[in-house]
C-alpha cells in the first residue's frame, strides 16, 4: 500500500486530523513522498536501510487499555511507564505531564535543523498517534525514569514528545526501550532548555531482533544551559539514532555521546548534528561502535558554526571496531565553519582490535577470546566509567557482558 492510501485509510486514528493547518502540512508531506525517488546514495536517512519495510508498512495502533503509571516513591524521583507511546496526565508543584495538543505540532514540524528529506521524521508527522509533554518547573532538581512499553505485536507507534526544562531546573532523564515484540516505534523528541537549566539524558536501547526503533531528538539550548545525551544501543533490531542540537544563546553546551554494539545482520544508523548559533558555546560529539558478524553501521556527525558564533569550541570523535570480515562501517564527520575564532576538530578511526595488545595479553597467559573481551571493554571504558548513576552503570555492565558472551 502506498503512503497516501495508508494515510487516508487510517486518518481517523491519527492525531489532529481535524486541524486544517496540520492537514495542509501533511498533504505537502505526502507530495514529498510522491516526488522523491528515494536516492539512497545521497540521502543520509536512507543508507543501509531496507526501504520497503518502512515505506510499505501496515498501520496498526491500539489505544492502551491499561493506563500508564506514574510513581513518586522517592522525593524528586518519578518513574513513568509509557504504554504504546501514551502517558496519563499528572501534575504537582515540580512537574506537569500532559498530552500533546494541536499547538505543539508546529514545534515539531516547522524545524529548520532537521533535514527536509528525512523520510522518517516526515512519516512521524504524517501518522502521529501518540505522545506526551513534560514540563519541569523552575529551579527544581528531579529525576525521571521512563519505561516504554508496547502491548501488542505489529504495532506502529508514531510518537512525538516534548520536554521543557524551565529556568534553573535540572533533570536526570533515563529512558528505557526494551521491547520483545515485533512492533516498530518512530519517536521524535523535542527538548527545550531555558536559561541555566540542565538535562542529562540517558537512552538505553535493547530491543528484540524484530523490533525497529527510530528515534530523533531535537534540543535547543538557551543561555547557560547544558544538554548531555548518552545513548547505549544493545538492540538486536534496527535502531536509528538521529540527534540534533542547537545552541541558540551564549555559553550553552551540548554533549552528544553514543555507543552501539551490533551483531548478526543488524544495522544501525546514527547521526549527530550540532548547530552553533551564538558565541562562547561548546559542543562535543563522540560515537563508538563495535561491529560483529555481518552488521553494518553508519555515523554522520556535523558541526555547523554560524558566522556570529565566535569563540566556539566544537569537537567530534568517531571510533569503530570491526570484529568480523563481513562487518562494515561508514563514517562522515563533517565540519562547516563560517566564523574565524573557533577551535574545532574531528577525528575518526576504524580498524580491528590492536594485534599487539592481544599479543601482550596472550603472552601473559590469557586466551584469545578473553583478551579480545578485555580490549573491547577497555575501548568503551571511558564512557562507562563516566556514568555517575550506580543503578544505570550496573544495567549497562550486564548488557555488555551479555554482548561479549557472543563474541568468539
Amino acid at each position: 500500500m502506498n503512503i497516501e492510501d495508508n494515510y487516508l485509510k487510517n486518518k481517523k486514528n491519527i492525531f489532529f486530523s481535524e486541524n486544517k493547518d496540520i492537514q495542509t502540512h501533511r498533504e505537502k508531506l505526502i507530495n514529498i513522498f510522491k516526488d522523491d525517488r528515494f536516492d539512497k546514495k545521497n540521502n543520509e536517512s536512507l543508507k543501509n536501510i531496507n526501504l520497503k519495510n518502512f515505506i510499505d508498512f501496515k498501520y496498526k495502533y491500539l489505544i492502551p487499555e491499561e493506563t500508564s503509571v506514574i510513581n513518586n516513591n522517592q522525593e524528586n524521583c518519578y518513574s513513568i511507564v509509557s504504554v504504546n507511546g501514551q502517558c496519563s496526565s499528572f501534575k504537582d508543584d515540580k512537574i506537569e505531564i500532559t498530552k500533546i495538543i494541536d499547538e505543539d505540532y508546529n514545534d515539531f514540524s516547522k524545524n529548520d535543523t532537521i533535514e527536509k528529506n528525512d523520510h522518517f521524521v516526515n512519516l512521524n508527522s504524517l501518522f502521529l498517534n501518540s505522545g506526551f509533554k513534560i514540563v519541569i518547573k523552575k529551579n527544581n532538581n528531579i529525576k525521571i525514569k521512563i519505561s516504554n512499553i508496547i502491548t501488542d505485536d505489529d504495532l506502529t507507534i508514531f510518537q512525538k514528545n516534548s520536554y521543557i526544562c524551565e529556568e534553573g531546573s535540572s533533570l536526570n532523564l533515563i529512558e528505557e526501550y526494551e521491547n520483545k515484540n515485533n512492533s516498530s516505534s518512530n519517536i521524535l523528541n523535542v527538548i527545550k532548555l531555558e536559561k541555566n537549566s540542565q538535562l542529562n539524558h540517558f537512552l538505553i536501547q535493547d530491543n528484540s531482533p524484530n523490533h525497529n526503533l527510530i528515534i530523533t531528538t531535537h534540543s535547543s539550548c538557551k543561555k547557560g544551559s547544558t544538554y548531555t545525551q548518552k545513548v547505549y544501543n544493545f538492540s538486536e533490531g534496527y535502531v536509528r539514532n538521529f540527534h540534533y542540537s542547537e545552541l541558540i544563546e551564549a555559553n550553552s553546551e551540548a554533549d552528544l555521546q553514543g555507543i552501539f554494539f551490533l551483531k548478526d545482520n543488524n544495522t544501525s544508523n546514527n547521526k549527530t548534528f550540532v548547530k552553533h548559533l551564538a558565541e562562547d558555546c561548546k559542543s562535543n560529539q563522540v560515537y563508538k561502535g563495535i561491529l560483529n558478524d555481518r552488521s553494518k553501521a553508519t555515523y554522520f556527525s556535523n558541526t555547523h558554526v554560524d558566522q556570529v558564533a565566535q569563540k566556539t569550541e566544537g569537537y567530534q570523535l568517531s571510533k569503530g571496531i570491526l570484529l568480523s570480515d563481513n562487518a562494515s562501517y561508514f563514517s562522515k564527520p563533517e565540519l562547516k565553519i563560517y566564523a574565524d575564532d573557533v577551535k574545532c576538530s574531528h577525528g575518526s578511526t576504524i580498524g580491528p582490535i590492536d594485534e599487539n595488545a592481544i599479543f601482550y595479553l596472550r603472552s601473559r597467559g590469557m586466551s584469545k577470546i578473553a583478551a579480545t573481551k578485555i580490549l573491547i571493554s577497555s575501548f568503551i571504558n571511558e564512557e562507562l566509567s563516566s556514568i555517575d548513576n550506580e543503578q544505570m552503570s550496573e544495567i549497562i555492565q550486564k548488557k555488555l557482558i551479555r554482548y561479549l558472551s557472543k563474541v568468539k
Partner: protein, 483 residues
C-alpha cells in the same frame, strides 16, 4: 580583531592579479557551441584517425544524457555550453617549429612575463618543457635525450597518430568517458594535453613539465593528459598554470589519467594559479578537473601534490585506485581561497588490493569572503586486507567572512584495515603572531611566515623547481591576501 589586522586583510584582498595580460595572436576558431560538427571539426583539425572520432562522438552522446554533479559546496551560474569556443589554435602552427627561434616572438614574450624564460630554463634547470599555449603544443625541449631512453613525451594529438596502440589500450581506462558529465565533455572535445610513456625499468632522469595557459577569450581549454609508467619505471611530472585576466568566466575541464604498472612510481605535481576573478567576484576560471590514478600493478605508487591558489571555482579530486597489492597512494594539497573564490577539493582513495597504503595531507586557507571545502573519500573494499590510511586535514581561517568546511567520507568493509582521520580548524594563533612581531617582523611578514609554516608539510613534497615558485605563490596569494 584589531585595526591593523583589518588593514592587512584589506590590503590583501585588493592585491591585483599580476599575470593579467592578453597576448594578441590571431587564432582560428570553429563556430561557438557544442554539437557533432564541432567535434568533427576538432578531429579534422587534429588529423585524427576514424576510431578516435568515433570515440569522441560516443562520449558526446553520453554527455548529452548527463547532468552536472551537484553535490559540491559550490554556487555558480549555469554554464552555457553553447556559448563556448571548443577549439582555438594560434594561426600558422599547423606546421610545428623545430626550435624556439621559429616560435612567434610574442609567445616567448608572454612566457617571459610569466617568469618562465624557456631558453634559460632549458639550460639551467634541465627541465623538458612541453608548453601548451591554448590548445597546440608549441615547443618541446629535451626530446632527443628522452627518446634515447625510449621515453615518449609528446602532445596527446601526436600520440594518437604515432602510438595508437597505447592510446587505444589506456585512454579512458581510468576515467571512463561516462564517469560524470565533465569527463564525458572532456572526452568529446579535448584538444591537447600531454602523453607520457616510460618504458620498463627506466627512471626518467628529469622532471617532465608542462605549462598550460588559457589565452583566447571564451575558450574552454579541455586538455587530456595520459601518463603510463611501465614495470619498474619512475617519472615525476610537473604541471603549472597561469592565465591572463578576463572578465568572462572561462571553463576548464581537464582529465588526467595516470597508470602505474608493477613496481612503477608516478609523482604528479601541480601549481595552479589561474585568474581567480576580481575582488567583487567577477570573472575568473571555472576549473572542473578530473584526475585519477590507477595503481594497477603490485608495489606501484602514485603521489599527487597540488598547490591551488587560483580559479574562481575549483572542483578537483585527484584520486587513486589502489588495485595492486602493496600499492601506495599519496595526496598532498594546499588550497588557498581569497575574495569570492570557491574551492571544493580533496581526494578519493579506493583500497582494493592487500596491504595498500594511503596518506592524505590537506591544508586549506580561507581569506576574504571565500569558501574552502575539503571533500575526501577513503574506502576499504572487502579484499583490502591490512590496508592502511592516514588522513589529516587542517583549515586556517583569516577574517570572519570566509568559511572552511571539511567533509570526509570514510567507509570500511574490512576488519583488518586501519583508518585514521583527523582534522582541525582554527584561526592564526595570536601567540605565534605576537612572537614573530616581537622579533621585528611586520604583520604581513608574520602572517606569511606562519602560513608558509602551516603549508610546509605539503610544499616540501614538491620538486625543487616548483617548491620555490610555490612558496612565492603562497606569499603572493597572502600578500594580496595575507602577505
Amino acid at each position: 580583531m584589531n585595526s591593523e589586522t583589518l588593514n592587512t586583510l584589506n590590503s590583501y584582498s585588493k592585491n591585483k592579479y599580476k599575470y593579467g595580460f592578453v597576448t594578441e595572436i590571431d587564432d582560428e576558431k570553429p563556430k561557438k557551441g557544442l554539437n557533432e560538427d564541432t567535434i568533427k571539426f576538432i578531429s579534422l583539425k587534429k588529423k585524427e584517425p576514424e576510431w578516435m572520432l568515433a570515440w569522441r562522438l560516443k562520449a558526446y552522446s553520453k554527455w548529452k544524457k548527463m547532468k552536472e554533479p551537484k553535490w559540491a559546496n559550490l554556487s555558480f551560474p549555469e554554464i552555457d555550453y553553447q556559448d563556448i569556443y571548443y577549439y582555438s589554435a594560434p594561426k600558422g602552427f599547423e606546421k610545428k617549429p623545430k626550435d624556439l627561434s621559429e616560435v612567434d616572438p610574442k609567445l616567448i614574450e608572454t612566457y617571459n612575463k610569466l617568469g618562465i624564460p624557456l631558453e634559460e630554463q632549458k639550460v639551467l634547470s634541465g627541465v623538458a618543457v612541453d608548453v601548451v599555449f591554448d590548445s597546440v603544443s608549441v615547443a618541446t625541449t629535451y626530446k632527443g635525450e628522452l627518446e634515447k631512453l625510449g621515453i615518449i613525451f609528446c602532445s596527446i594529438g601526436e600520440a594518437i597518430q604515432k602510438h595508437p596502440n597505447l592510446i587505444k589500450k589506456y585512454l579512458g581506462s581510468v576515467i571512463p568517458p561516462g564517469d560524470h558529465s565533465f569527463s564525458a565533455l572532456n572526452s568529446a572535445v579535448f584538444t591537447d594535453g600531454s602523453f607520457v610513456y616510460i618504458p620498463e625499468g627506466v627512471k626518467c632522469p628529469m622532471e617532465l613539465s608542462t605549462y598550460f595557459r588559457i589565452n583566447a577569450e571564451n575558450t574552454g581549454q579541455f586538455e587530456r593528459t595520459l601518463i603510463i609508467a611501465d614495470k619498474g619505471s619512475y617519472v615525476s611530472y610537473l604541471e603549472g598554470c597561469t592565465a591572463p585576466k578576463r572578465d568572462d568566466n572561462q571553463l576548464h575541464a581537464a582529465n588526467v589519467e595516470l597508470i602505474a604498472l608493477e613496481d612503477a612510481e608516478i609523482k604528479y605535481s601541480t601549481v595552479q594559479n589561474w585568474y581567480p576573478g576580481d575582488e567583487d567576484g567577477k570573472g575568473g576560471i571555472y576549473n572542473f578537473v578530473t584526475k585519477r590514478g590507477l595503481c594497477a600493478g603490485k608495489n606501484s605508487k602514485i603521489s599527487w601534490t597540488q598547490v591551488e591558489t587560483g580559479s574562481a571555482i575549483t572542483w578537483k579530486y585527484p584520486s587513486c585506485i589502489l588495485k595492486g597489492d602493496n600499492s601506495i597512494g599519496e595526496f598532498y594539497s594546499v588550497a588557498i581561497t581569497n575574495n569570492f573564490q570557491q574551492a571544493d577539493t580533496g581526494t578519493k582513495m579506493t583500497h582494493i588490493g592487500k596491504n595498500t597504503k594511503s596518506k592524505i595531507i590537506s591544508k586549506g586557507i580561507s581569506l576574504g569572503k571565500s569558501q574552502n571545502t575539503y571533500r575526501g573519500e577513503v574506502s576499504f573494499l572487502r579484499k583490502a586486507d591490512k590496508a592502511r590510511n592516514y588522513t589529516q586535514c587542517d583549515s586556517l581561517l583569516v577574517g570572519n567572512q570566509c568559511g572552511a568546511h571539511t567533509v570526509p567520507y570514510i567507509d570500511s568493509k574490512n576488519n583488518t584495515a586501519v583508518i585514521e582521520h583527523e582534522a582541525s580548524t582554527s584561526k592564526i594563533n595570536e601567540d605565534q603572531l605576537y612572537y614573530c612581531r616581537q622579533r621585528g617582523l611586520s604583520h604581513e611578514e608574520a602572517v606569511s611566515l606562519i602560513v608558509n609554516g602551516f603549508c610546509k608539510q605539503v610544499l616540501q613534497e614538491l620538486p625543487m623547481e616548483f617548491a620555490v615558485e610555490a612558496q612565492k605563490l603562497v606569499s603572493i596569494s597572502l600578500e594580496g591576501s595575507v602577505g
